[in-house]
Amino acid sequence: MNEVVHQTQQSQPETPPSESRSQTALAPAVDIVEQADSLMLIADMPGVTRESLYLEVDNNVLSLEGDIQLSMPEGLTALHAEVNGQRFARRFTLSHEIDSEAISACIDNGVLTVTLPKKDSHRVRRIEVQAA
């Protein structure tokens, strides 16, 4: 499991560098499921390595960014391209119950899994019904 979360708590006044390049970025397909104590986000980012991946939580916005790392020889001419971009990027707004300090992530075979734990006060509690 690779810990790849970078966190910045205060918002930066200038626009992040991703804004200007977002034109060419591909939106990765994601699955999001809820569990009792966390949300899990799974994103397809083929070609993205642990080193080329950048995750950030800023002002309750989770940013996923990753550059596609392909070792291609010189002198190639494209015949057909379904993936026509060099990078993936997508952003999600987190709800306040997410404990942004405890977010963890790993990337395996190009699939990014981000675990977003809920704060203790927001975990599921089952209430047992007492016999009257």
Binding site: D31, E34, G47
Partner: protein, 153 residues
């Protein structure tokens, strides 16, 4: 390299896809689609590039390990088969989990793509890294570019 390939654009990003579909329905363009063209978001996505020596096929199959993709070539048609497991619908305790988004393809898939003529399927190789498969199909010797020296008369 594939980033500046606007003429091979297969569609806008997935986020704009609903809008594109709406516009396409309202204003269908008369152009015929390629017989093997696929809609955006097909799994796995494929890029094909050519060099002087070989044709290289890049298969963007996140989540597939080395042995999960079957690659067959017959009559210049490359066929890719495999299966990607869906995420578990239940958590550890067996309770169903609410799902907010399910965009990732799962289950069995088969994709076929036509390749240029003159490839030597016998010498084909495939590599895998970070969810991308690279298939290298060398050209037959007689199809490689050749420089012709001008002889002294």
């Amino acid at each position: 390299m594939f980033g500046d390939l606007k003429r091979f654009d297969t569609g806008a990003s997935q986020r704009q896809d609903w809008f594109r579909q709406l516009v396409d329905e309202l204003f269908p363009d008369g152009r015929a689609a390629d017989i093997r063209a696929v809609p955006r978001g097909s799994f796995p996505m494929i890029n094909v590039a050519r060099s002087d020596e070989a044709v290289r096929v890049y298969v963007f199959a996140a989540g597939l390990a080395r042995g999960d993709l079957t690659i067959d070539i017959q009559d210049n048609v490359l066929t890719l088969r495999g299966r990607r497991e869906p995420i578990a619908a239940n958590d550890d305790t067996g309770n169903a989990r609410p799902v907010f988004r399910r965009e990732r393809a799962s289950g069995e898939f088969v994709r076929a793509i036509a390749l240029p003529d003159g490839l030597d399927a016998e010498r084909a190789e495939a590599r895998h890294a970070n969810g991308v498969f690279e298939i290298v199909l060398p050209k037959r010797e007689e199809l490689k570019p050749r420089r012709i020296e001008v002889q002294v008369a």
